[in-house]
């Protein structure tokens, strides 16, 4: 069968040529008329049909391989295998189409890539040196977006996989290196982009090619042909170089820390380690031995690069200065060149700093002397570049200057005045800092300024004495101007910390430098403001500032606390109306709260002002119980250390005890109550306050001091629990005190007892209620101790109770509950309950017997009420009275102090 017209169906579609149709020419000489005359004649009946019709020619496929149903094909019906074959097609268009097809298949059928990735890469890498630009570009895209990510995704649990990847990468790198030396400039430049891609994705593969790669970098950068005609194309080369250098820098850095670990691993493990590392993604955290780089030869290469880079920087700098407007490309090139130079400097410094081993030949090779000859001599010209820029005020220029300053700063330990005068440099840096405020592009600025700020403490330390002043001035100004939500605040705080606290870095400023201390005060003065602002705007800064403040407090005992006065606002402010407004302290994280509390320990002179707001914080519900207890504890420590007045501490403790809001929770249905009970917190607070007070010394003396606070608090009739706490304070300090004897206090005690028993007495006829009885016991406890120690108090209290029963209205004003029951039976029940509980205390019997007449009076009164037939006493009430009378009588008899005659009348009456 002959070849059908139009060629094979498969290829015709791909190479369809869009030929322009031949234009209709003519019609110039004369106008062409269209004549539409009548209908067309129908064809004669006997005409022969000359039309030839044929169906599409279908060639039956003859092989199994091309049976495509269910196979992964692209939209043109081609399998991966065919597409891969086509990538080597002589026609560039076919190759490009094949690459697009591969991309399509991989997107549609990800399993194809998984299964055949080695084959795909092996085939594709041949295209790195492709002559067609578009082919290379699309190859770059495929590798970047599809193949490399999936290559990293795969879990390299098996070693074989790792091996296959490495061998694949090996081929890939061979091609890339080949491309780098290609005659065609475009291919050469493209190869550098490929290298960058590989380095970004598989950093661990780089060390083995580093030397060759840097060779090529040197070659391409020193190539005059490119230098002249296509500088902008070098951008990508420079950025690739930047990546490679940062890898080397990282390796040298991690060398120190991880060397030991890595050496402990066996080779096989280390291998896995590195490949695993690639999987983990990020380009920043790679730990592999710097030994992988052949350092000494690498350094020689880098040395060549320095010269070239500086040359190119000089050229582009002068170009930029010559032009009126700065174009993006050239400035980018300059910036990445500076970046590369910076990295090289870092690597060199690290190498020079390395502890030199005695037997190593490298001692002479890469010591500080070597650094000087290789690097510093060239840097003189860089200094010239800076001078060139000095006149211009553009943002971009400023960035160049910053970058140059950064390079010089990291080299500063090795720079002596022969290379550049230190003073001039200090002036340069301080002028840069001063300029910082005037800049527009903040984000960019922050990125480039932060290394400068990090280096400031070291620079200031090493600077000659007369230039220290303006460096410090510039630094302080910039620090003052720095906003809290600015990224620069962290480096600033670090710098301040380093200069304030020499512990961290071991940089000790000379003690006699009095000018330094002025700046210390200035910095410390800024801290509270930053702290307060940061709480809303930048929570991460809060912690750093608090830590810094704590260290300042710990290490600088002489610091002037007046500077820190705004710190009070952290806890609260007294508003004009006299109420306390809580500060942001209660909403801080626990960690920050702890730091803030610890700070208080070291700034005791602030305490008199802080203690009020602090108490307000303690009383707010928002504060965690844990924190509350900690605050009390720390204040007690401060008191013990002798930094807090005893009266302050006493008033703080009594205030807490009187005002702490207790939510008792619901005893019967604890699940339903919306308020969580904080009884436990109150109990531990109670305990803590009591132990703190008892640690302060002689109880009666302390009570003398605290009495004013206490009596004031008690007179205000706080809730039951607080009242109980206040009574407990009295009992703990000195239960025998004669201060209780005043009538007002007795009335308060009586009122307190009545309040406490009211709840219980209402239900007394329904039988014994353990919960409430226990609560009452808890309330009555401090009173029983008081009564035990002081029989006169007991006596007068009982008198008071009696007058309550008999309806003396004068007592009602002292009761805290407004709706106190007025009917007789309730009053009797309440008092009876109290008496019964008191009688149950065995140790009170003796004191009770002193006031037996009062008890007798009460009994008699009740009986009289029972006997008299008053109309308004209902039958139910009478029953209540009777049962109360009986109970009280039984208890009273147990006191064993009655002469038989005394009670006879009462007994017989019933």
């Amino acid at each position: 069968m002959g070849r059908p017209k139009g060629g094979a169906a498969s290829s015709s579609s791909s190479s369809k040529k869009q030929k322009p149709k031949p234009k209709q020419r003519g019609g110039v000489d004369f106008k062409k008329y269209k004549h539409k005359v009548g209908r067309k004649l129908p064809p004669p009946k006997n005409a022969t049909n000359t039309e030839i019709k044929s169906k599409a020619i279908v060639l039956p496929e003859q092989s199994m391989a091309s049976e495509r149903a269910g196979m992964a094909v692209n939209k043109r019906g081609l399998t991966l295998r065919e597409l891969l074959q086509q990538t080597t097609h002589y026609n560039a268009n076919v190759r490009r189409a094949a690459l697009n097809g591969i991309k399509e298949i991989v997107l549609k059928h990800p399993t194809e890539l998984k299964l055949h990735k080695v084959a795909i890469i092996e085939k594709l890498q041949e295209r790195i040196c492709d002559t067609d630009k578009l082919v290379r570009e699309s190859l770059y895209n495929i590798l970047q977006s599809l193949i490399f990510p999936s290559l990293k995704e795969v879990h390299w649990s098996e070693l074989e996989n790792a091996i296959s990847t490495r061998s694949t990468l090996f081929l890939l790198m061979a091609n890339i290196l080949n491309g780098m030396t290609h005659l065609s400039l475009d291919i050469q430049l493209m190869a550098f982009r490929f290298l960058e891609l590989v380095v970004l994705n598989f950093p661990s593969s780089f060390p083995s090619y580093a030397e060759k790669a840097f060779n090529n970098f040197v070659a391409v950068l020193s190539n005059d042909r490119i230098q002249l005609h296509d500088r902008s194309k070098l951008n990508s080369v420079l950025s690739g170089l930047g990546h490679c250098l940062s890898l080397v820098a990282q390796a040298t850095k991690s060398d120190d820390t991880s060397n030991q670990q890595v050496h402990n691993l066996s080779t096989r493990e280390r291998w896995k380690f590195t490949t695993d590392d690639d999987n983990s993604g990020g380009t920043l955290s790679h730990i592999y031995p710097a030994g992988a780089f052949a350092m000494s030869s690498l350094l020689a290469k880098l040395q060549n690069l320095v010269q070239i880079l500086i040359n190119s920087i000089e050229v582009s700098a002068s170009e930029i200065c010559a032009k009126s407007a700065i174009d993006a490309q050239s400035s980018e090139a300059l910036l990445s060149a500076l970046h590369c130079l910076d990295l090289i400097c870092r690597i060199f410094i690290h190498e020079a700093k390395k502890p030199q081993l005695n037997f190593s030949i490298s001692q002479t090779q890469f010591g500080p002397d070597w650094l000087r000859t290789s690097l510093l001599v060239h840097l003189k010209s860089l200094w010239g570049v800076k001078r060139l820029f000095h006149e211009k005020g553009d943002d971009k220029i400023f960035i160049f200057n910053l970058k140059i300053a950064e390079i010089f700063l990291c080299l500063s330990p090795w720079i002596d005045s022969t290379i550049l005068p230190a003073e001039e440099f200090c002036q340069f840096v301080s002028s840069l800092l001063a300029k910082e405020k005037t800049l527009r592009n903040r984000d960019l600025m922050e990125m480039y300024l932060s290394p400068l700020i990090t280096c400031m403490p070291g620079l200031i330390f090493n600077a000659p004495d007369d230039s220290k002043g303006y460096l410090l001035e510039a630094f302080t100004d910039a620090f003052r101007g720095c906003k809290v939500d600015c990224k620069l605040i962290m480096p600033f705080l670090d710098g301040v910390g380093e200069m304030l606290l020499p512990e961290k870095t071991g940089i000790w400023f000379s003690e006699n430098d009095s000018g330094m201390f002025d700046y210390h005060d200035a910095w410390i003065h800024e801290l509270p403001g930053i702290l307060l602002q940061s709480i809303d705007k930048a929570p991460s800064v809060t912690k750093v500032v608090l830590e810094l403040l704590l260290r300042v407090g710990q290490y600088l005992p002489t610091v002037d606390c007046g500077n820190l006065h705004p710190l009070i606002k952290l806890f609260g402010v007294k508003s004009s109306s006299g109420t306390m407004e809580l500060g942001p302290f209660v909403n801080l994280t626990r960690e920050c709260q702890e730091l803030a509390i610890s700070c208080l320990y070291y700034f005791p002179s602030l305490l008199p002002d802080i203690i009020g707001p602090l108490a307000a914080c303690c009383l707010s519900d928002a504060l965690e119980p844990f924190m509350l207890l900690k605050i009390v504890e720390v204040l007690q420590s401060i008191y013990k250390a002798g930094n807090l007045q005893i009266t302050e501490q006493l008033s703080f403790l009594s205030l807490l005890m009187a005002r702490f809001k207790v939510h008792p929770g619901n005893f019967l249905t604890p699940e339903d109550s919306s308020e969580v009970s904080n009884m436990d917190t109150f109990k531990s607070l109670n305990r803590l306050i009591l132990t703190s007070l008892s640690e302060m010394g002689d109880g009666s003396l302390v009570l003398e001091l605290i009495w004013n606070n206490l009596s004031h608090a008690i007179a205000q009739k706080p809730p039951m629990h607080n009242m109980n706490g206040l009574f407990r304070i009295i009992v703990t300090l000195d239960a025998e005190t004669s201060k209780l004897m005043s009538e007002d206090v007795i009335k308060l005690i009586a009122g307190y007892l009545l309040d406490a028993s009211l709840d219980l007495s209402k239900t007394i006829e329904f039988g014994f209620q353990p919960d409430k009885a226990r609560l009452f016991q808890y309330f009555i406890k401090p009173c029983t101790i008081m009564f035990d120690k002081n029989d006169k108090v007991l006596c007068s209290t009982l008198e008071m109770l009696k007058s309550f029963v008999t309806g003396d209205d004068s007592l009602f004003s002292f009761l805290s509950n407004l709706n106190y029951p007025r009917e007789l039976s309730c009053r009797v029940c309440v008092v009876t309950t109290i008496l019964i509980f008191l009688c149950n205390e065995r140790k009170l019997h003796r004191n009770l017997s002193f006031s037996k007449s009062v008890i007798k009076g009460i009994l008699e009164y009740i009986r009289r009420q029972l006997d008299s037939n008053v109309i308004d006493v209902t039958y139910v009430e009478k029953q209540k009275l009777k049962s109360a009378f009986e109970q009280l009588k039984t208890k009273a008899l147990q006191l064993n102090c009655w002469a038989t005659v005394e009670l006879e009348g009462l007994l017989s009456a019933t």
């Binding site: 071991g506 610890s598 803590l688």
Partner: protein
């Protein structure tokens, strides 16, 4: 002669003297008057005599340190250092006395002559406590920092100049004042602080191993001699028993194994007997209790005074003929040849079976003695070279010890 009697000593911050009881019988042995000391300011110098720094009373910037002989209840020697001393410690041989001042200065005296060998600014605020780990001094301060000093470096002027910083390590993880610190074999130190934590440090490695949080401030720590647990005396009157857990396997709430609860007020001072069976605690409530650590019961309780007990010690007094005690000098003397008096202590040279490191230590020491007499170790002006050599060997030894302790931890815990 009967077995040496062990005494419990207790001192108070109120002026109640130092009381001594027999550890076994509880009978009152002696009472030294007058004495009012801060926590960690009473120390028995090699069990030969007692040194107690006094609370500063009113006027005067200088401090006061009393020495007492075991036999006599009165003060034997009074000395007046340049500033009030807050913490005292002496080396096990009793050759040096080290005091921490209220301004953060550390004083180093030679006991035999009373000479002030060296004084240096150790902390920014008052020194609160000391511990000695052979020739490493661990000091804890009110500023929350713990510093480790090498006494050999501190005594040698040349190596002082060479050192970058005077201290070996500076730990600043505590947020509030350090209240107590104790050392254990293998260079493991436990520190307690008012920030409610105890932290465990490895001195040879110079880092924190772990931090244990307690529900209250901790005022004192004592190590169990077996080294798996330590006792921490809390502000709330409980003595917490906490697991050392240096192996790092356990973290979290199970660190605190239990609590001995009998004191009503803060436990200010703890002392553990050498066999680890008895623990003596002193509290703010004025009582001294002796605990049986196995049954965790109080086996003896003695009332010291109304005021708080600040120090408890367990000592075995030795009545040896001392050269007459010299008061401690205020200032460093020029060009004084320090001479250390080391009394023979044959009974302390006990071979511990199973400790290979002990044999190793002896070998090292033998080798050292070949090079010269032992005075080079302690001589201030001695050859620097030998000193550093000795130190490197010493560090090696310490690592061995640390390794051994760390290895033992998990197995003993699982038992």
């Amino acid at each position: 002669m009967a077995a040496p009697e062990q005494l419990v000593l207790a001192a108070s911050s109120a002026d109640a003297g130092v009381a001594a009881w027999d550890l076994r019988t509880g009978g009152v042995a002696n009472r030294f008057h007058p004495c009012a000391s801060r926590p960690r300011a009473v120390f028995s110098v090699a069990d030969r005599f007692l040194a107690a720094a006094q609370v500063a009373t009113g006027g005067g910037n200088s401090g006061l340190v009393h020495f007492y002989h075991w036999g006599k209840p009165q003060v034997a020697v009074k000395s007046f250092p340049a500033e009030p001393i807050h913490a005292l410690i002496a080396d096990p041989e009793g050759s040096y006395l080290i005091g921490g001042g209220s301004n953060g200065n550390i004083f180093l005296w030679e006991v035999a002559s009373g000479q002030l060998l060296h004084t240096w600014h150790g902390h920014y605020r008052a020194v609160r406590c000391f511990a000695l780990y052979d020739y490493w001094l661990v000091s804890g301060s009110e500023d929350g920092s713990i510093r480790v000093w090498d006494l050999i470096t501190m005594l040698d002027e040349q190596s002082r100049l060479n050192a970058k910083t005077l201290y070996l390590y500076n730990f600043s993880q505590h947020a509030l004042p350090v209240t107590d610190v104790a050392c254990f074999l293998g260079g493991i130190a436990v520190s307690s602080s008012e920030d409610r934590t105890c932290k465990i440090w490895s001195l040879p490695q110079g880092r924190m191993l772990r931090s244990i949080s307690f529900p209250v401030s901790i005022d004192s720590v004592a190590l169990d001699s077996r080294g798996h647990i330590f006792y921490a005396g809390g502000r709330d009157g409980k003595i917490y028993v906490a697991a050392m857990g240096v192996d790092g396997s356990s973290h979290g709430s199970d660190d605190i194994l239990g609590a001995l609860d009998d004191h009503s007020k803060a436990v200010t001072s703890l002392a553990s007997s050498t066999d680890g069976l008895l623990l003596v605690s002193g509290s703010e409530d004025g009582n001294v209790r002796v605990w049986d650590t196995r049954s965790q019961q109080v086996i003896r309780k003695v009332k010291h005074s109304q005021g708080p007990v600040t120090n408890v010690l367990i000592v075995t007094p030795k009545n040896v003929n001392l050269p007459p005690l010299q008061p401690l000098r205020k200032v460093c003397a020029e060009n004084v040849e320090p001479q250390s008096v080391i009394l023979p202590r044959s009974e302390s040279d006990v071979l511990i079976p199973g400790y290979k490191t002990c044999a190793y230590a002896e070998r090292v020491l033998d080798a050292l003695q070949m090079h010269g007499d032992s005075s080079i170790l302690f001589g201030a002006g001695g050859s620097n070279q030998k000193g550093t050599d000795w130190r490197s060997r010493y560090l090696e030894l310490q690592d061995l010890f640390a390794g051994e302790v760390l290895d033992q931890m998990p197995s003993s815990r699982s038992n």
